[in-house]
Amino acid sequence: MMQDQKKKVLGIALIGVALAVLPFVIGMGFGNAWIRMLDFALLYIMLALGLNIVVGFAGLLDLGYIAFYAVGAYIYALLASPHFGLHWPLWAILPVGALIAGIFGVLLGTPTLKLRGDYLAIVTLGFGEIIRIFLNNLNAPVNITNGPKGIAGIDPLAKNIEIFGYPLHSLYLIYYLFVALALLIVFVTMRLENSRLGRAWVAIREDEIAAKACGINTRNVKLLAFAMGASFGGVAGGLFAGFQQFVSPESFGLFESIMVLCMVVLGGMGNIPGVILGAVVLTVLPELFRQWAGPMQMAVFGQTYIDPESMRLLLFGIALILVMRFRPMGLLPSSRRKAEFEHAEEGAQA
């Protein structure tokens, strides 16, 4: 028991050190563009973990999830940009964004409570598009979102600073901010997974009628899943807006929703490390191909046959097919059963 405790502390310490030095290693080896990508990977981890609550835990197929990312991003944009002349601090905006995105989650959830599977997917897909179209058109009669032009000049999350005379690029500070929030979301998700509510979500996923018969108020518990997932999306959206310093409806299309869903499915639905892996792989790999596909073709064939951008989508498709063929449960499938088994053994020894 003590041994386990020590191992756990050691493991956490090692992960902490690795996360702390990671941007310096990557920055020195590959340059700032890669730290930027790392930051994006962290945003996608937060998004994917939020969607994982809805799809992975509660089994509700949501194809409009990016709408909550959009809500969070626009809340940040409106509260911290010259557009309305407001300049709220980050720590005040994020909770507001999470709350409003959560409310949107309930708004989406309420009319879809009776729907499952394909039907739910279609309705949520529509919801995602509606939000995007609203953002596109809310520039008249009162200009709220600035329409398709988007909102620019958003307050940055951090500035370049100097520590003991050494310049430190803002990307590093943003990295630490994102790591902290991503860890918080991982922590909350892990705690929820092994709780009364986490079990209720999985029960609904496995058999909704039996869940009702067990006394679960499926309506409330589903709405809670929508709200939790949406609020994580809202936090990630706010960070995205401050990171890019620009938002426009274009960033929140159906393809983005599908991308996040792929991260959840590819990594291993319902399994937190799997979802994290899925988010990292699907952020980094396509970027790698975009950067290397062009020069590589030049080196081998002397000219570019396939446009790197379309090659990226092609490889993305192939990767998904391969995973679904050889690892249908995802790269790291849920360890729920294994954990429970170990627990039972522990109980037997005690």
Binding site: L197, A210, K212, A213, C214, I216, R336
Partner: protein, 256 residues
């Protein structure tokens, strides 16, 4: 003898099919009450109506002295009726222990904030849920299967697990829909002992069964449904000889 459940003139139809026609019956506290009838007689429909899975088209239900609100199944469970399903409905990917832990949902109250902060209260509650679930697995006789995925349990064990999960909600009335279906003679004997134990420990049992020997040996009273109508209700020995019941089962028209 006090009545635990009183169903009066329950009606349910699906389009043109009248699955239940003014069915009235009273289940007394502490008894094992059998509900039998040929295939399609409306037994499962009756279960679905009293547990809130279907909305009834007529009649009313009084449970434990209170009118039963059956707008949603979880409220029925809250009121004290738990059930199993004719075609077993377990949470397939969860372990046996977790299945029973879900049954404790109603009798615990850990919230989001409690779960995230893992307060002392929540930790104590989780431990209690786990202990109770472990105890119930032993009670139904599958203590050794706690960590096994529900879907990989044998058929008989799945039926037992469903009973444990239902008992976890602390019901006053346990409604079992064909629990012996697909069981061999040994398993059925074990099930019979389990149902008797449940009753002895203070839970009233409502039992749908096709196994006549099980019904006759176990039930205090039996009601017979045929084409959605209650055609008999009495102690097993009397019901067994009732000419209407005999003709319902043999398919011979009953001559008055």
């Amino acid at each position: 003898m006090t009545a635990l459940l009183q169903a009066r003139n329950i009606a349910k139809h699906f389009g043109g099919i009248r699955a239940l026609k003014d069915v009235s019956l009273t289940i007394n506290a502490g008894e094992i009450y059998g509900l039998i009838g040929p295939n399609g007689a409306g037994k499962t429909t009756f279960f679905n109506v009293i547990t809130g899975l279907y909305q009834r088209d007529g009649g009313d239900i009084v449970f434990a002295g209170q009118p039963l609100h059956v707008e949603s199944p979880h409220e029925v469970t809250q009121a004290g009726i738990a059930r199993t399903f004719q075609n077993i409905r377990l949470f397939a990917e969860m372990s046996a222990l977790e299945n029973v832990m879900v049954g404790r949902h109603l009798r615990s109250k850990g919230s989001v904030i409690g779960a995230v902060l893992r307060t002392a209260t929540v930790r104590a509650e989780e431990a209690a849920i786990r202990a109770k679930a472990t105890e119930l697995l032993a009670y139904v006789g599958i203590a050794g299967k706690a960590g096994v995925r529900a879907a990989s349990l044998s058929y008989g064990d799945q039926r037992r697990l469903e009973i444990a999960r239902a008992l976890a909600t602390e019901p006053k009335l346990l409604a079992l829909d064909e629990p012996a279906a697909g069981m061999n003679a040994t398993e059925t004997a074990g099930l019979r002992a389990l149902i008797e134990k449940v009753r002895t420990d203070g839970t009233t049992v409502l039992l749908i069964e096709h196994d006549v020997r099980l019904i006759m040996g176990l039930c205090d009273r039996v009601a017979v449904l045929d084409y959605g109508e209650k055609i008999a209700e009495d102690v097993p020995a009397v019901v067994q000889k009732d000419p209407r019941v005999v003709s319902a089962y043999l398919g011979v028209p009953y001559e008055q």
